[in-house]
């Protein structure tokens, strides 16, 4: 999916309050993998909430595949959201349910209203289960299919969350620090799977991260500081100076890799 922020997109959480995003213009082509870096409070999460219409702009225009999302009706917003996959630092899975059930939920993106109830009552059919198992195998957690989310380690949770994305096959993936606080092996598997989704499925991938090594694996880096874009260019040219500048401006500590 193509994402376009134009006309200087601005967002404030309170009327007259300080802007969380301020005059942002970014164009992202379909299938691109873009890392978004910046200190806490720089506007990364705000940008993501904007794209799922969890927020509306106070200025500028956000369009996805050419359509202004501010003009969408409730049902169109729902359709848009089905095509967007999200993954957070916390994983956002249902604790009391099994890994399998949580991954199966990903198949609901292109299913009818009754499918959710059917899934809740008797689980997914053989087709759904097979595709979920494939995803679990890719992330090396097939043996945990029947474990409850609450029993998993942080890394395993995150892998399960990526499995949900794999069965959902969204057109746009918003990954908010998916590899923060997980073990190395999990981080590698998570990033690998996200990258594969972007490459094979043509999903556009927006990856918010503090980890510069992770960011440099993207095609492009957008650096935010205090709600403004301070760098937008190829990751190969995103030097330590850029990173340091982005973090220094926020009065925050630069990440380890950049110091």
């Amino acid at each position: 999916m193509r994402v376009e922020l134009s006309g200087g997109v601005s967002v404030s959480y309170r009327r007259g309050g300080p802007p969380a995003l301020n005059g942002v213009d970014v164009r992202i082509r379909s299938g691109d993998m873009v890392a978004v870096i910046g200190a806490s409070g720089a506007g990364k999460s705000t940008l993501f909430r904007l794209l799922t219409r969890g927020l509306v702009t106070s200025g500028g225009r956000v369009s996805i595949d050419g359509a202004d999302i501010a003009a969408l009706s409730l049902s169109e917003v729902r359709t848009l959201r089905r095509r967007i996959g999200t993954i957070h630092q916390r994983g956002d899975l249902v604790d009391g349910s099994t890994v399998m059930r949580n991954v199966e939920i990903g198949t609901l993106a292109d299913a009818g209203a009754l499918a959710a109830l059917a899934l809740a009552v008797r689980g997914g059919g053989p087709r759904v289960q097979a595709s979920c198992r494939r995803a679990l195998r890719t992330l090396e957690i097939e043996h945990l299919a029947e474990a409850r989310i609450g029993e998993l380690s942080g890394g395993e949770r995150q892998r399960a969350a990526v499995c949900r994305l794999l069965v959902q096959r969204p057109g746009l993936i918003l990954a908010d620090e998916p590899t923060a606080s997980v073990d190395e092996r999990s981080a590698a598997l998570v990033l690998g799977a996200l990258r594969a989704l972007s490459g094979d499925n043509g999903s556009t991938l927006l990856l918010a991260t503090h980890d510069i090594d992770v960011a440099r694996q993207a095609d492009r880096v957008v650096a935010l500081a205090r709600g403004q874009v301070v760098y937008d260019g190829p990751s190969s040219r995103c030097g330590d100076d850029v990173v340091r500048a982005a973090y220094a401006r926020a009065g925050d500590l630069a990440p380890a890799a950049a110091t």
Partner: protein
């Protein structure tokens, strides 16, 4: 308002209420009252433990127990369809950027469900019992209906609050996939709140049991009806037996629900 002023208002409120209720500690010390009280209490020294009477009491206890069970089922049947609409975090119109009228229309089912639950709950079981005794006649079914309707209002509110209290992230993630209200409950809220919902439902059953002992006073069956009769006939040794039986029953119910809670966990 100063602390002194507040204290004065409080004292006036208590005095005014005491006068209104005709509170008079002297009445308790009155010789005639003392005589009546001691006669009532002496019943506890000689509870009626004859076999035939105990059988009668056991019957009344069973009937009370049955009322509490049927009332719980009625309460659950009432609460299930209302709860999904009474939890504010399941409102579809929380999407920002919607026109005001769309938000208001979206919140309508929520308002209706909340108010229905409030109404069911606001009317005490005894009043419902009077209503249902008129409707279906004297007997335990009227009691079960009365307690069940009240329980439905309570359960709906308690369940909805449990659903509102679940971790927002997982539910939001499922909502973003376009899943509606009922799917959100089945896949998100229920697995997350199951424990608490079961526990509250058991507690409601205990409350039903206590209520089932009272509705008998207005003719809606159970052990209360026996109590009412024995007190009216000044048969205090029988009153004593009934109250001891109540004590045993409430204790048993408490143990039973603790046991169930532990096995469900």
């Amino acid at each position: 308002m100063g602390r002194l002023g507040f204290g004065t208002v409080l004292a006036l409120l208590v005095i005014w209420s005491a006068r209104g209720t005709g509170a008079d500690p002297g009445l308790l010390a009155d010789p005639a009252a003392r005589e009546r009280t001691s006669r009532f209490l002496s019943g506890f020294l000689h509870p009626n433990l004859s076999g035939s009477y105990l059988a009668e009491v056991a019957n009344a206890m069973l009937s009370t127990f049955q009322i509490s069970i049927v009332a719980l089922v009625i309460g659950i049947v009432i609460a299930i369809p209302l709860t999904p609409f009474a939890a504010s975090n399941l409102l579809v119109t929380r999407t920002p950027g919607l026109p005001r009228w769309r938000r208001a229309v979206g919140a309508l089912p929520y308002q209706v469900a909340r108010n229905v639950l409030n109404l069911l709950r606001a009317v005490p079981e005894l009043i419902w019992a009077l209503v249902f005794v008129t409707a279906v006649g004297l007997g335990p079914f009227a009691g079960a209906l009365a307690i069940g309707v009240h329980a439905g209002g309570l359960l709906g509110k308690l369940w909805a609050e449990q659903i509102e209290a679940v971790d927002e992230g997982p539910v939001e993630a499922i909502r973003l996939l376009g899943v509606g209200r009922f799917g959100l409950i089945g896949l998100g809220a229920w697995p997350l709140a199951r424990q608490n919902i079961l526990s509250l439902t058991l507690y409601q059953w205990e409350c039903n049991l206590r209520a089932a002992t009272v509705v008998g006073f207005v003719g809606a069956g159970g052990i209360g009806q026996q109590l009412d009769v024995s007190i009216r006939l000044f048969a205090y040794s029988e009153t004593a037996t009934l109250m001891l039986a109540l004590l045993v029953m409430v204790f048993l119910a408490d143990s039973a629900s603790t046991l169930v809670r532990r096995t469900v966990r």
